[in-house]
C-alpha cells in the first residue's frame, strides 16, 4: 500500500512540475509578450506585423495550441512511467 502511495505522490509531483512550466510559458506569451511588453516588442517587425501586436492577435494563440499538445505528450509519457496507462474498464472512481 505504501509503495502504491509513494508511486502516486511521485506521479503527482512530476505532473505539478509540468503544469507549472507550461503555465509559465502560457503567461509569458499572452500577458507578457501580448500585453506588458507589447510596446517594447512593437519596435520589431515581422512582415506587416509589429511583434507585440502579432503576439496578441496571432502568436499567443498558436503557442496555446502547442502547449496543450506538449502537455498531452508529457502526460502520456508520465502515465506510462508510473504504470497508469493501462486501460481499465473501471476508470471512474
Amino acid at each position: 500500500m505504501n509503495t502504491k502511495k509513494e508511486n502516486a505522490a511521485a506521479y503527482w509531483k512530476e505532473n505539478i512540475k509540468y503544469v507549472l512550466i507550461l503555465l509559465s510559458i502560457w503567461f509569458l506569451v499572452s500577458y507578457g509578450a501580448g500585453i506588458m511588453f507589447k510596446e517594447f516588442l512593437d519596435q520589431f517587425q515581422i512582415g506587416g506585423f509589429k511583434l507585440g501586436f502579432w503576439f496578441a492577435q496571432q502568436g499567443a494563440i498558436y503557442v496555446f495550441v502547442v502547449l496543450i499538445f506538449v502537455y498531452i505528450y508529457l502526460m502520456n509519457r508520465l502515465d506510462k512511467k508510473y504504470g497508469y496507462d493501462h486501460d481499465s474498464k473501471n476508470n471512474t472512481l
Binding site: 502504491k4 502516486a8 506521479y11 503527482w12 505532473n15 503544469v19 507550461l22 503555465l23 502560457w26 499572452s30 500577458y31 501580448g34 500585453i35 506588458m36 507589447k38 512593437d42 515581422i46 512582415g47 506587416g48 506585423f49 509589429k50 501586436f53 502579432w54 496578441a56 492577435q57 496571432q58 499567443a60 494563440i61 498558436y62 496555446f64 495550441v65 502547449l67 496543450i68 499538445f69 502537455y71 498531452i72 502526460m75 502520456n76 502515465d79 504504470g83 497508469y84 496507462d85 493501462h86 486501460d87 481499465s88 473501471n90 476508470n91 471512474t92 472512481l93
Partner: protein
C-alpha cells in the same frame, strides 16, 4: 440564383441534417441524456466542444468588435483561447476521472454538502441563462436579415429546432449535431475569409494575408495602410489600444478563467471514455477553435480597410446595394449632417455621419467584397450553426442542473431512471421557452451581459474546482464562502457600474467610469472577484475543520488517470 434562394437552400439543408441526426441519436437513458453515454471519441468531442464554445458572439460579432477596437480587441482573442490551456491542464482530466454528470455534482460531492451543490446550481443557472438569451437573439437577427422573416418568427423557428434535438437526444443528440455544426460554421467562416484575403493581398491564407502587402503596385503593408487610414480620420492607430494595460490584463484574465469555468464547456469532458481522451479532446478543441480565432483578426483588418475605402468621403448616391440593404435593417445609419451628399466617417462625433453596427462586419463582409451569392448565404447558415450549437449546450446544462442536481440529488433521490429522464426533458423544454422569451423580448443589455457571464463563471466555479483538485485539505466552509462572496461581489459590481442601479439608473453609467475600482472595467472585474474568491476560501478554510479522510482519499484518486493496481473497484 439570388442570395435569398441560396440562403433558403443552405439553411434548409443544414436544418434537415440536424433533425436527421437528432432522430438517429435519441437518448434512451439518463447517462445518454447527460453525457452521451460516456462513449464519445476525442475527435467528436473536440469538434462538439469547439461548436459548443463558438457562439453567435464568436461567429458574428467578434471580428466586427476587433475591427473597431483594433489592438484592444486582442482581449477576446487571447481570453477566449487561453482559457483552454487552463481547462486542459487544471480541470478536464480530473473532472473526467471524477466521472459524474455535472459541475454541481463535483462541487456537491467534493465538498460533501448539498448546500455547496445548491450554490453551484444557482451559479450554473445564472451563467447559462445570461448566455443563452444572447444566442436566441443571434438566431433572430440572422433570420430577419437573410430570410426576411420577422425577428420573432426567426427566434421561434430556432426554438423549435433546438427543442427537437435537445429534448429528444439530450447530450447525445447535441454532441453529434454539434459535430455537424462545427463543420458548417468553420466552412462558412473560412470561405469568405480566404476569398477576401486573395482579393486584397493575393495570399490565400488569411493569417498570412493580414501581414502581407496590398495586392497593388504600392507595396504597402495592409496593416500600415489601415493604421494610416485610421489616423487620417482621427481614430486611434489600429495596432495601438485606448484601454489601460491593467484593464487589458484584467479583462484577458477574466475571460480566460471564465472560459475554464463555464459549465457547458466543462461538461463536454464528461462525455469521453478515458482521462487520456479528455486531455486529447481539449487539445483538438483548441486547435479547431484556433482556426477561427486566428482568422477573425485577419477578417477584421480586411473588413475595416474595405469599409473605409468604400464609404469614406464617397458620395452617398454612389453607394453599392449592400449599403441600402443594411440601412434597411437599421444597423447602418447615414446622417448627412453638412448636406454635402458625401459620407464623412470620422472620429469626431459632431462631424461623423455614419454609424456602423459592429455585428454587420462579418455578415456584410462578403457583400462588401462582392463575393458570389452562395458565399453570402453560407455565412447565414454558419451564423445559425454557431448560435444553435451553443444554445443547445447551454440548455443541457440548465436542464441537468434542475433534473439531476436539484430533483435527483436533493429533492427526490428515489426518483426512477425513467422519471429523471422525463424531468430532464421537461426542464429542457421549459428552458427553451424561457430562452426564447428573452430572445423575443431582449432585455436591452443582452450583449453586455453575455460578456459578463464570463465574470460570473470566473468568480464562482473556477476557484472552487481548482482548489478541490489541487488542495486536498480544502473544506466545504471555505469553498461555499468563496463562491458566495465571489459571485455576489461580481453581481454587485455589474449592477453598480453596468446598470447604475445604486446611482440613479443607466444614465449614470458613463459618469461612474472614473470610479472603477483600480480602474478595472466591469468586463475585467471577474479577475478581481476570482482572486477574492480564492482569498476568502483559503482564509475561511484556515479557521474551520478540514474535510474527512474519505474526502481526502477521493481527491487523491481524482488525481490519478486510472485505478491501476488499486484493490477492488470504487
Amino acid at each position: 440564383m439570388s442570395v435569398q434562394t441560396w440562403t433558403y437552400i443552405l439553411v434548409g439543408i443544414t436544418f434537415a441534417l440536424y433533425i436527421g441526426i437528432a432522430i438517429w441519436s435519441r437518448a434512451s437513458s439518463t447517462k445518454d441524456f447527460y453525457v452521451a453515454g460516456g462513449h464519445v471519441s476525442p475527435w467528436a468531442n473536440g469538434m462538439a466542444t469547439a461548436a459548443d464554445w463558438m457562439s453567435a458572439a464568436s461567429f458574428i460579432s467578434m471580428a466586427g468588435i476587433i475591427a473597431f477596437a483594433g489592438y484592444d480587441g486582442s482581449v477576446y482573442l487571447m481570453g477566449w483561447t487561453g482559457g483552454y490551456v487552463l481547462l486542459a491542464l487544471l480541470l478536464a482530466p480530473y473532472l473526467r476521472k471524477f466521472g459524474k454528470f455535472t459541475v454541481p455534482d463535483f462541487i456537491g460531492e467534493r465538498y460533501y454538502s448539498d448546500k455547496a451543490r445548491i450554490v453551484a446550481v444557482v451559479c450554473a443557472l445564472l451563467v447559462s441563462f445570461t448566455y443563452v438569451a444572447g444566442q436566441m437573439r443571434g438566431v433572430g437577427v440572422v433570420f430577419s436579415r437573410f430570410l426576411e422573416v420577422d425577428i420573432n418568427t426567426g427566434v421561434i423557428i430556432g426554438m423549435v429546432i433546438v427543442l427537437f434535438y435537445a429534448v429528444l437526444g439530450g447530450m447525445k443528440g447535441i454532441t453529434y449535431t454539434q459535430v455537424a455544426q462545427y463543420c458548417v460554421l468553420i466552412f462558412a467562416f473560412m470561405v469568405p475569409a480566404i476569398f477576401i484575403s486573395i482579393q486584397m493581398t493575393g495570399n490565400p491564407i488569411p493569417q498570412l494575408g493580414m501581414g502581407s502587402t496590398i495586392h497593388d503596385s504600392s507595396g504597402t503593408f495592409l496593416i500600415d495602410k489601415l493604421n494610416g487610414l485610421s489616423t487620417e480620420l482621427g481614430f486611434t492607430e489600429y495596432t495601438s489600444g485606448t484601454k489601460s494595460t491593467l484593464d487589458i490584463f484584467a479583462i484577458t484574465l477574466a475571460l480566460m478563467v471564465g472560459t475554464a469555468g463555464l459549465p457547458h464547456v466543462i461538461v463536454r469532458f464528461f462525455t469521453v471514455e478515458k482521462v487520456k481522451d479528455a486531455r486529447k479532446s481539449a487539445g483538438i478543441a483548441l486547435f479547431l477553435i484556433a482556426i477561427l480565432y486566428t482568422t477573425a483578426p485577419a477578417v477584421a483588418v480586411f473588413a475595416k480597410t474595405n469599409l473605409l475605402n468604400t464609404v469614406s468621403n464617397q458620395p452617398y448616391l454612389e453607394m453599392p446595394p449592400w449599403f441600402k440593404n443594411w440601412e434597411d435593417t437599421g444597423l447602418l445609419v447615414h446622417n448627412d449632417k453638412n448636406k454635402d451628399g458625401i459620407i464623412q466617417y470620422v472620429a469626431d462625433v459632431d462631424q461623423n455621419e455614419l454609424t456602423v453596427d459592429r455585428d454587420i462586419m462579418v455578415l456584410a463582409n462578403p457583400e462588401i467584397a462582392n463575393l458570389p451569392a452562395w458565399v453570402i448565404a453560407l455565412v447565414a447558415a454558419g451564423g445559425l450553426a454557431a448560435a444553435l450549437s451553443t444554445a443547445a449546450g447551454l440548455l443541457l446544462v440548465i436542464s441537468s442542473s434542475i433534473s439531476h442536481d436539484l430533483i435527483k440529488s436533493v429533492i427526490n433521490p428515489k426518483i426512477s431512471e425513467k422519471g429523471e429522464l422525463r424531468a430532464a426533458r421537461i426542464s429542457a423544454t421549459v428552458a427553451v421557452i424561457i430562452a426564447g422569451y428573452f430572445g423575443i423580448n431582449p432585455p436591452g443589455f443582452v450583449a453586455a451581459v453575455v460578456a459578463l457571464a464570463f465574470g460570473l463563471a470566473a468568480a464562482s466555479f473556477f476557484p472552487a474546482i481548482v482548489l478541490g483538485i489541487f488542495y486536498k485539505k480544502m473544506n466545504k466552509e471555505g469553498a461555499i464562502a468563496g463562491m458566495v462572496v465571489g459571485i455576489s461581489l461580481m453581481v454587485f459590481y455589474i449592477l453598480k457600474f453596468k446598470f447604475g442601479v445604486f446611482d440613479g439608473g443607466t444614465s449614470a453609467i458613463s459618469r461612474l467610469n472614473k470610479d472603477w475600482w483600480f480602474g478595472i472595467s466591469p468586463e475585467g472585474f471577474g479577475a478581481v472577484a476570482m482572486a477574492v474568491n480564492f482569498v476568502v476560501a483559503l482564509v475561511v478554510n484556515r479557521f474551520t475543520p478540514p474535510p474527512s479522510e474519505e474526502i481526502q482519499e477521493l481527491v487523491e484518486r481524482i488525481r490519478l488517470p486510472n485505478n491501476a493496481g488499486e484493490a477492488g473497484g470504487h
